[in-house]
Every structure is written in C-alpha cells, then in structure tokens.
C-alpha cells in the first residue's frame, strides 16, 4: 500500500496559509503552474499533499507533515 505525505492543519485558513508559504518557497505561480495545492477536509482536519521528490518537493519544509 502506497503512502503519501500530507501537511495537516486545524482550519482551512491555516492550510491555505501554509500553501501560500510553500508556493513562495517554490516560486509558484510559474509557467503552467498556478498553485501548489488545494486544501481538502478529511476527518475534520484540513490537509494537502506534499511532494516527496521532483522540483516541487517540499516535505522537508512543510509544517505538520504526516505520512498516511
């Protein structure tokens, strides 16, 4: 079973703020890429997936990273 990493937050606003911070870190928006991720609500928490490799890798800088 494959597992992926998520940045997990209490509110949608916190998750979006973290996305904004990561976008600034990665240089997004750029050609063809307008955002890093969208927050999704799962079990009362807000999370977004973080890349573990490639040019958008950010699992090493994202906050509250969990592996599921």
């Amino acid at each position: 079973m494959i597992t992926m990493k998520y940045s997990v937050h209490s509110t949608e606003e916190e998750a979006q703020a973290e996305i904004n911070r990561i976008e600034a870190y990665l240089g997004i928006p750029t050609v063809g890429t307008i955002k890093y991720a969208e927050p999704e609500e799962v079990d009362g928490q807000w999370r977004f997936r973080v890349k573990e490799s490639g040019p958008w890798k950010c699992d090493h800088v994202a906050a509250n990273v969990v592996e599921e």
Binding site: L26, V31, T33, Y36, F48, R49, G54, P55, W56
Partner: protein, 460 residues
C-alpha cells in the same frame, strides 16, 4: 831548395807543397830538422773557414746561430735615445692621470653618459630603472598562475587546462542525465555520459542533439505516421489518424526538441495527433504534476500516486482502440493510465492484482498480476461491442461484450481516489477499430521504440 837568406824570402817564388824548410830545434842540443809546406799546413791552427781555404770572404749564411736581428738593418731599431724615451712613456696599467690634459682631451664632464638611472659607478639595472616597460615585461613565460602564454614552435597554444579558460560563451561539461546542471547559462553544452546525448540550454529547456528535431529524417522514419499527424509516410504508417496521441518523447506534442530536462514537473502533455480538437492534458496544481524523466532513449512521465493530467472530455464511440505503454512502481499495484469522468468506470485498470476493462475483470497470472516492468496494453471495442484487453501485443486477457458508454477525461487518475502509480510512456486512442495490419504496425512501432518491451504477439 838552396839555402836562402831571410831577406831573400819575399822575392822567392811561392814554395810548392813539397818544398822543404829547415827548422832548428833549439831545445837541448840544437838540431836541424826538415819540414815541408804541407807539414806546416797541418800544423796550422785553422785548416779552413766555412769549408773554404785561401782568401775566404764570409757572409751571414756561413755563420750558424745568428738571430734575425743579425740581418736586419740597424735603421729598424730604436736608438738608445729612443729607447730611453720609451722607458719613460706611459705604459699599460698606468693611471690616466699621468696624461697631461689640454683642450683637445675629454674629461668626465664631456663624457657622452654622465650617469645611468641616476647612478654612477658600477651600475646594475633592474626593470624599475627602465621607463616605458609594459606589465608583461616582469612576467615569466609558462602555464602557471600569472605566467605569459607563449606559442610553441608550431604556433600552438601550450597545454592549458580547458577549465582555466574564462569568458567562453559556451561552457561544456559532462555527467549523467540525472545530473544536468540546475543553474545553467544560455548556450551551456552538456554531454550525458550515460545516454551519449549532447544537450544545450536555451534558457528554458535542455535541448538535445540526439535528434536535431522531429524533421530529422532518421527520427521521423521511426515515428508512427498517419495522415494529419506530425509524421506521415514513415516506416510505421497507419491509415487511421488517432483522436489523441500522447507521446512522452514529444512532450509538447509538437517537437521533441522542446522537451524539458529530465526531472522537470509536467504541467502540459501535448496531444500530437494533429486532430482539430486538441486534447492537450494539463495540470496547474504543482503537487499533482507528474515528472518528466529520461532513461536511455526512453522518455516517460512518472506519476507518484497523487498526480494526474486533465484533458477535454472525450466520449468514446462504440468502436475505439487504445494502446498504452506503461508500468507501475515496484510493489505498487495501481495501473490507471487513462481515467474517465465518472467514478468506478475504466477502460483499463490494474488494482491490487486484478485487471479490469470496461466490464469484466481477471487475475492475470500470465503477464501480471502486477505490471511493475514496462508493458504494452490494448483496450479495444469493435462495432459489435466486443471489448478486449490485450497484453504484450495480441494476448487477450479480458474478452467481453459491452455497450456501456465511457467518457475519457484524464491521465493517471480516475474520478475518485485511484491514481496511477508508475510511469506512462505513450497513450494513443482512436475512435475506430484499427485493421489488423494497422494494429501490428503500431506494435512494430512501439517494439522498435521501446527496446525493453517484451516481445509483442502479432494480431491475426
């Protein structure tokens, strides 16, 4: 001879050699003896001079041991007075001060050089004493730091390491394809040592000289050709233009020369079918973008289980063909190259060891159940609603009949939480059922292109 008086002797005739002369020996008792002229001559202290007798006149040649002075005229020699003057004359080694100065003589003030570099006496010059020298005058010739380079006897530059050359607009480096410089300058050239490809950075992409462009005849000849597409009249020409054709080797659907560097995130996978309706697949969310990769001659997109690309919905007609080259990651069992716009609808899916078509499923223990290495699949439906899933050419693993509609909408993901996890090399979808000949031509094209594909069984 008669006795003669002494006084008579001068008038006598010259005696002959045998004439006798009386000699009185007065020692002791006086006695008289006779002697001839010859006897007297032998008793003479000198018998001859210079080998001659008689009246002898001598010359310098008659006398041995004479020096050259003996025959030199006395006028050639100094007189005693002259010798006296010579003895008192200025001799070598005498101080110049012994000379008497007058107006015709020079003194130090009249010397043409008064000083050198402001100095007199024994002067040793250095570079700082000479004006007008350039900076090169004090540098050494060589190939070390701060040396002046000198051409050799063949007017060639000496062996200077290329890395020491600066200001060259095109820096050449080398390494593996995975180690392409991350911050290149426009014009940088990079030799991929593991692929043998020469690449150059145009400011946006690492272009490759492996094929100059898709218009390279050698490259074009091995493409899938069809009327209306990028290529036609190739070694692998078919009669039906596909509805969409995603080829990772031509990522933007236009020119493989535009391919990005390996490891780049993919926001657009261009449709190279040439159809009026463009099915370019896009993803604007970074965390959902697959990655473009290069391995040898193969190009592919890697999907990590959360990636997908969306394209304009395409409602499949009854008859359709899809061929795909893909795999799943090791120990990951979700193969979903093309997803639909509706949950739980697929035209090809391998999930947890089970393979699905539009309808029907099978545990493929012949070629699967998992497809961790590169594989080729067909998903087809003919005009009689016969739907088949083929693996490795014409090996059917699912054969069923169904008229269920399907609308294709994305790559790498169905409209739910199931994502493709692995690599996708190429996807071709036709709104028709290809002829057997064309299917085999497509297989030949793929087999030639992807050397790692298993042997593909021909359709018959």
């Amino acid at each position: 001879m008669a006795n003669k008086k002494i006084s008579e002797l001068p008038s006598l005739t010259t005696p002959a050699s045998g004439d006798q002369i009386a000699v009185v020996d007065i020692s002791g008792t006086p006695t008289t003896k006779r002697v001839t002229a010859n006897n007297l001559m032998t008793l003479a202290p000198v018998q001859s001079v210079a080998g001659r007798t008689g009246t002898v006149t001598l010359s310098d040649t008659d006398i041995s041991g004479l020096g050259t002075a003996a025959t030199t005229a006395s006028t050639d020699y100094a007189t005693a007075a002259q010798g006296t003057l010579a003895d008192s004359a200025t001799q070598p080694g005498d101080n110049i001060s012994t000379l008497t100065n007058d107006s015709n003589f020079i003194d130090s003030s009249g010397a043409p050089v008064q000083s050198v570099a402001g100095r007199t006496g024994t002067v040793t010059l250095s570079n700082t004493d000479v004006s007008g020298l350039g900076t090169a005058a004090t540098l050494d010739v060589g190939t070390s730091a701060n040396n002046i380079v000198q051409l050799n006897g063949s007017a060639q530059l000496p062996a200077v390491d290329g890395s020491n050359l600066t200001g060259i607009s095109s820096a050449v480096s080398s390494g593996t394809a995975a180690s392409l410089p991350s911050s290149p300058s426009v014009g940088n050239i990079y030799l991929e040592t593991d692929t043998g490809k020469l690449r150059w950075w145009d400011g946006t992409y690492w272009n490759t000289f492996n094929y100059d462009s898709q218009y390279d005849p050698n490259y074009a000849a091995n493409q899938l050709g069809y009327s209306g597409g990028l290529f036609n009249g190739t070694n692998y020409n078919i009669s039906t233009q596909p509805k969409m054709h995603f080829d990772a080797a031509i990522l933007d659907g236009s020119d493989q020369a535009n391919n990005p560097s390996s490891g780049s995130a993919v926001s657009t996978w261009g449709d190279r079918s040439g159809q009026a309706v463009n099915y370019d697949a896009t993803q604007a969310t970074g965390s959902a973008q697959p990655t473009f990769n290069v391995s040898g001659n193969d190009k592919y997109l890697s999907f990590d289980g959360g990636d997908s690309l969306d394209f304009t919905d395409y409602a499949l007609p009854t008859t359709f063909n899809m061929v795909v080259v893909c795999n799943t990651g090791a120990d990951v069992h979700t193969l979903l190259p093309v997803g639909t716009n509706t949950n739980s609808q697929y035209i090809l899916l391998e999930y947890n060891g089970k393979t699905y078509g539009i309808s029907g499923s099978i545990v493929d223990n012949t070629y699967g159940p998992n497809y961790n290495s590169i594989q080729q699949f067909w998903s087809t439906r003919d005009g009689s609603n016969n739907q088949n899933i083929y693996v490795q050419g014409a090996n059917s693993i699912i054969s069923t009949t169904t008229s269920l509609p399907r609308t294709l909408a994305r790559i790498g993901k169905a409209n739910d939480t199931i994502f493709h996890t692995g690599d996708i090399y190429e996807i071709i979808i036709w709104g028709a059922d290809l002829s057997t000949t064309d299917k085999n031509t497509v297989n030949s094209y793929l087999a030639n292109k992807y050397s790692s594909l298993p042997t593909l069984t021909s359709f018959s």
